[in-house]
């Protein structure tokens, strides 16, 4: 047995590693930095679950229906059913390993209401649900580390997968300390590398989620799915370093969106959608803000200092700290920002990709959220996906033999060294910056064929340039070699958005504003003979 290789140590990667270890498998858990630095710690709002005896008439069926409907019926019913049916047990599991959930006045785990859901089913831990779950899972991983079943490898980045004859046998890992590539053989590899933030520059998420693994594996023949579906969060605050999320709670407490027109405040959401207009779903609010083509503000000041301090203290602190804005007196300037990626590796219900023994879980995989994700479902999916993949791997038997990949290692080590040995300092950051501008402009909230074609042309040019440049040797090598993968993924995302000639969920096209029956299936993209081939999913998942 070579054991299991898990790439990425956020909530999904840790969940996979823990379940594998529980089932007696040996795991190597690879990530450049410890789990405390993963994007998972940033999740604030909560995790959805339906527990028996919830006392509010919520049922697994309504969770399933909400999830399918939220995703514009692109997600598979069977998979979503599994996710929702598993949610109660997952909540209990997280509690049992010590997650500090918030409780109500009766000492029962508390729930809050989240957008797009028929019942209150979002369990939370104060204002840091993701962080509290991560802290508990880290302890649990540590328990298996002590038993010798999980080994953490830090300073290690994915380079590429060792694939032969449609089967994955492990991965090449770049060690940032030794500066060398290393081959890690495994019976199964689980990708858990999160979203694709780097494609867009500043987003609400972590700089560590760059989409490289999706781009690189795509070039190695792995199919990707639903890449055009990208969730924008309508209310984020621009700062010098990133776009900060201003949570829905601000609008939930009564916050009002407006722009100014000839000295008059126009409460555009209320004018168009009535009193509850400010609380419309994320995609609708984002689109309206975009279409307003004006500076939009979110006002909560009228709620008064007392209410603000009591109900939304994190928002008050965030605006004061990063922008010096006193929200008890001034409005918050807001704009939509890229927030979540529904698309990623195409996987079956066991989380396996089209390459045998290569699995994907968490935000890097595309399976449960269809064309749009419900808040609170991604943390659930991260744990559920991790468990599901582990269970499947543990259930497999057979002799695993890997063909020799030694030649690969030497060749790639040489290649990397050559690219780095140069006086030229071409900053990869520049190309990444140009890419982000292209993606923000041409793959925004409202898309059209002409812009998408322009975007594809620009990214093709960047790909051509990136192929020729040498690496700036003063930068961490991963930052350099990841560029090609990131650009490739961007090209695939644009291709999918161009392919889907309709509007559905988070994908809105001004040239095809209607939802069309002919497109009621997920998009699958593959790379064959140097071509990006997008199409609708076939019955066999291909």
């Amino acid at each position: 047995m070579n054991g299991v290789l898990v790439i990425g140590s956020g909530i999904s990667g840790m969940s996979a590693a823990i379940r594998c270890a529980e089932l007696g498998l040996r795991v190597t858990l690879v990530s450049p930095f410890p789990s405390e630095r993963s994007q998972s710690v940033m999740a604030a709002g909560g995790i959805n679950a339906v527990r028996e005896g919830n006392g509010e008439g919520d049922t697994v069926s309504s969770h399933i229906e909400d999830t399918l409907k939220g995703g514009a019926y692109l997600a598979g019913e069977k998979e979503v059913r599994g996710l929702c049916e598993g949610s109660g047990a997952i909540l209990e599991y997280l509690e049992s390993v010590g997650t500090v959930f918030s409780v109500d006045e009766n000492g029962k785990t508390a729930k809050r209401a989240f957008g797009g859901q028929s019942h209150r089913r979002t369990y939370y831990c104060g204002a840091s649900t993701g962080k509290q779950i991560v802290s508990a899972l880290i302890m649990e991983v540590r328990r298996f580390e002590a038993k010798g079943l999980i080994e953490r490898r830090l300073w290690s980045c994915f380079y590429y997968a060792l694939i032969a004859d449609g089967t994955c046998h492990g991965a090449l890992i770049f060690d940032e300390v030794s500066g060398k590539l290393e081959a890690l053989y495994a019976d199964a590899v689980i990708m858990a590398t999160g979203g694709q933030n780097a494609l867009f520059g500043k987003t609400t998420g972590s700089t560590q989620c760059d989409g490289y693994t999706q781009g690189k594996l795509f070039l190695q023949g792995v199919r990707l799915k639903n890449l055009e579906f990208i969730q924008y969060h309508p209310t984020t605050l621009e700062t010098g370093q990133k776009r900060m999320l201003i949570s829905e709670a601000a609008r939930g407490e009564g916050g009002r969106l407006y722009y100014e027109d000839q000295g008059r405040r126009v409460y555009f959401m209320e004018e168009k959608y009535g009193n509850n207009g400010n609380l419309m779903t994320r995609d609708v609010v984002s689109r309206e803000i975009f279409l307003a083509k004006k500076d939009v503000y979110l006002d909560v000041s009228f709620l008064g200092k007392e209410v603000i301090k009591k109900r939304i203290p994190e928002i008050m602190e965030l605006c004061a700290k990063y922008r010096g804005i006193d929200i008890t007196k001034e409005p918050i300037p807001v704009a939509p920002s890229v927030h979540f990626f529904m698309g990623g590796f195409a996987v079956d219900s066991f989380h396996e990709t089209n390459i045998r023994n290569l699995f994907a879980v968490g935000e890097c995989a595309s399976i449960y959220h269809g064309a749009n994700r419900l808040g609170g479902n991604s943390l659930l999916a991260a744990v559920y996906g991790g468990f599901t993949a582990a269970q499947e791997i543990a259930g497999r038997t057979g002799e695993y033999k890997h063909p020799g990949f030694d030649g690969y290692l030497d060749r790639e080590n040489d290649l990397l060294a050559k690219k780095g040995k140069t006086a030229s300092r071409f900053p990869v950051a520049y190309i990444r910056d140009m890419l982000a501008k292209t993606m923000q402009n041409d793959l925004g909230i409202v898309r059209d064929g002409q812009r998408l074609a322009g975007g594809i042309k620009d990214v093709d040019y960047l790909l051509e340039t990136a192929e020729k440049i040498r690496y700036d040797s003063s930068v961490m090598p991963y930052f350099n070699y990841s560029l090609m993968g990131i650009l490739t993924l961007a090209r695939a995302v644009l291709t999918c958005a161009d392919f889907r000639k309709e509007s559905r969920g988070a994908h809105f096209r001004s040239d095809f504003p209607e939802t069309r029956d002919g497109y009621a299936k997920p998009t699958i993209i593959s790379y064959e003979g140097g071509k990006y081939l997008a199409g609708l999913e076939k019955e066999d998942g291909g």
Binding site: F33, P34, R37, S38, V41, S135, R152, P427, S474
Partner: protein
Amino acid sequence: MKVKILRQVHPGSKPYWEGFIYDGPTDISVAGMLDHLNYNDDIINDKGKATGRIGWECSCLQGVCGACAMVINGVPSLACETFLKDQGKDEITIRPLRKFPVIHDLVVDRSAIHENLKKTDIYIGEWQQGQDRDLDHQYLAAKCLKCGLCLEVCPNYADGRNFYGAVFANDCYIVSARNEKKSESIKNSYGEHFAGGCSKSLACVDVCPMKIPTLASMAKLNKKM
């Protein structure tokens, strides 16, 4: 604005100071400033010579992941929530945390934190509701970023060989609060690697970006001793 950074190319190589002139916006954080310096065409030092880009670590850029801990104008801080305008002078000096081995420039290897917790079996196992029902305290303790700032300012923490510091004490508290059965068995590690060595300077409490009440954690654990 003048910026001085203590740099180091590789784990074993010699550290050296290098100066830069920063002329970007001043209403940003040190993280924003480092990004700004790195994003120029060529990165030029204050002698007008081209040099290597500055290495530093980040992830969340909003003070919740602990990646960007470094020493800024003598104060151990998170770069993404330390602002230029609050520095009170036109010069800024940055160095990596001193208590950890340097990997590259401002990037340090903090794995000793995790290794020490691993060696001493600091994990909950199975949650057993015990006498400690102070969920607020448990919640705050579980917010620990493992950023290492508390160790940087601690007069007793050297290299983590014997004394493990506040970060260790808080995780011990969580385990003892969330698993009553285990609270007995971690007493020894807590005594050996924390209580015995702590001189209560409490600098760790002031520097903690999550405002974890370490003193309260200690008080509860000491009671069990």
